[in-house]
């Protein structure tokens, strides 16, 4: 299964590498959102510094809907989904592979976003370990839930609008947990960021299990 998952992830990342969608469209979009937040908050440094964590993760949420839509469209075009099924790869492996590919892309975007909030919002990172752990754990949860919902709306009308409606409310705990952990990492609020990682990990595990169990049903029936 791990071998198959690795193959699927490599396939998605290779397609991404060749099309350069993440680099040419998603990263500029993420940066643009940060700039717009700056305008919206009147370039007020104290306000931006206080709100940096939340703005960072809201941007990640927006970007995740784009990344998931992109990941889903790879499978829906040219009957690739059917081909994946016929290839005899376990659905759970397909799910794990696609989740990993989305997670890698989101982590790359987050590298740019961290640089963005440091430069544009004047954020100062006080706990690198917490910051990196939060990014990894939260991203796995986002990618896990996102890949599942992506498969759920694959091939239906108006999927671009339905996906955010479904995904964003479910991601509410990630937004809350990751924002709090980042508050600690930036030193902007006195909270115990590490304790929030537990919640993020719980969210990630539950959604990965749900995704592994139901991805096959979705792949075959929808």
């Amino acid at each position: 299964m791990f071998r198959d998952a690795r193959i699927v992830a490599a396939k998605d990342l290779q397609i991404e590498w060749r099309s350069r969608v993440t680099f040419s469209q998603v990263v500029p979009f993420a940066t643009l959102v940060l700039v717009l937040f700056g305008f919206a908050l009147d370039a007020n440094r104290p306000v931006l510094e206080r709100a940096t964590s939340g703005l960072f993760w809201i941007t990640v949420m927006f970007v995740s809907t784009l990344a998931v839509q992109r990941s889903t469209s790879i499978e829906t075009s040219d009957g690739a989904r059917r081909a994946l099924l016929l290839a005899g790869i376990e659905p759970a492996a397909v799910y794990a592979g696609k989740t990993a590919a989305v997670a890698v892309q989101l982590l790359l975007v987050q590298v740019v976003l961290v640089a963005g909030v440091v430069v544009l919002f004047g954020a100062e990172i006080e706990a690198w370990g917490l910051l990196i752990s939060t990014c990894v754990v939260a991203t796995v949860g986002i990618a896990g839930a996102g890949t599942l919902f992506g498969a759920l709306v694959a091939g239906v009308r108006a999927r671009e609008t339905v996906l955010p409606i479904l995904l964003l409310p479910v991601l509410a705990p990630v937004l809350i947990g990751a924002t709090r952990a980042f508050d600690d990492a930036f030193g902007s609020v006195a909270v115990d960021g590490w304790s929030w990682l537990g919640l993020l990990a719980g969210f990630g595990i539950i959604n990965l299990v749900l995704g592994s169990l139901s991805y096959g049903v979705l792949l075959e029936e929808t």
């Binding site: 091939g155 339905v162 409310p169 479910v170 705990p173």
Partner: protein
């Protein structure tokens, strides 16, 4: 998948639903009279306490309705039960209405009590809003169209994800807010007395009867809708087969 029989009534009423409907109407009138004229005003909240007669039953029935949706979703995925699938859809629609009513009455009640329509620090309020948004998403999936069984499967998975994630949402908001304005359970803390308590319990009973009445009608509408769609498909297949037989005969 079990296809429903074709010989069902073309309307959704029955003597049971009519009697139930009459009981609900009588109950609402009684609630109105008790709530406005018999139950006393609260020492602290004055007349706004009367919102409890609608707010608490709506909140309870919201969770009952979404519980039915979760069970129905599971039964569709497990047993491919069309009956449970339609019940899950019906309960979700009614649940969204109850949930909306809970949020609106809660906000109206919050204004005089907490001096704000919305309080982010309140766990139950925020969790209920997230639940509302999740179930609106569930209904959006139901309305996406496409293959009958595929829509049911998609919706069932959304229903289950919502049910599983709700405790995490609740816990995260609880940690995040670290405080709550919401009063503790009105029923279990024993602060309500006499007519106030009686009217609220009556409200729960009446709302439960209304839920049952609405479920019966919505379920039957869902059953007829499905039968129409399945019937149309069967007719179309039969017509194509007849054409093919004719064409074969001509040749």
């Amino acid at each position: 998948m079990t296809i429903p029989p074709t010989d069902v009534a073309a309307h959704t009423g029955s003597s049971t639903t009519r009697w139930l409907g009459l009981a609900v109407m009588a109950g609402v009138v009684t609630m109105f009279l008790l709530g406005f004229f018999v139950a006393p005003e609260d020492d602290l909240m004055a007349d706004s306490v009367r919102m409890i007669f609608v707010h608490v039953p709506s909140a309870i029935l919201t969770y009952v309705a979404f519980g039915v949706t979760a069970v129905g979703s599971l039964m569709w995925l497990w047993k491919r039960s069309v009956w449970w699938d339609i019940a899950a859809h019906a309960a979700a629609e009614i649940g969204v209405v109850f949930c909306g009513l809970t949020l609106v009455t809660g906000s109206i009640w919050g204004r005089p009590t907490w001096n704000t329509y919305w309080e982010w620090g309140d766990v139950r309020l925020v969790t209920t809003l997230i639940l509302f948004l999740m179930m609106v998403g569930y209904l959006a999936v139901r309305s996406m169209g496409g293959d009958e069984a595929a829509v049911s499967t998609r919706a069932a998975i959304v229903g289950l994800i919502a049910a599983v994630n709700l405790p995490i949402v609740n816990r995260s908001v609880e940690w995040w807010a670290d405080r709550t304005l919401h009063q503790q359970s009105s029923i279990t803390d024993g602060k309500l007395e006499d007519w106030t308590l009686f009217t609220m319990v009556l409200g729960i009973v009446v709302w439960a009867m209304f839920f049952l009445w609405a479920m019966l009608h919505r379920f039957r509408v869902g059953w007829l809708e499905r039968q129409l769609r399945v019937g149309d498909l069967d007719e179309a297949i039969a017509a194509r087969r007849a054409e093919a037989v004719d064409a074969g005969g001509d040749a």
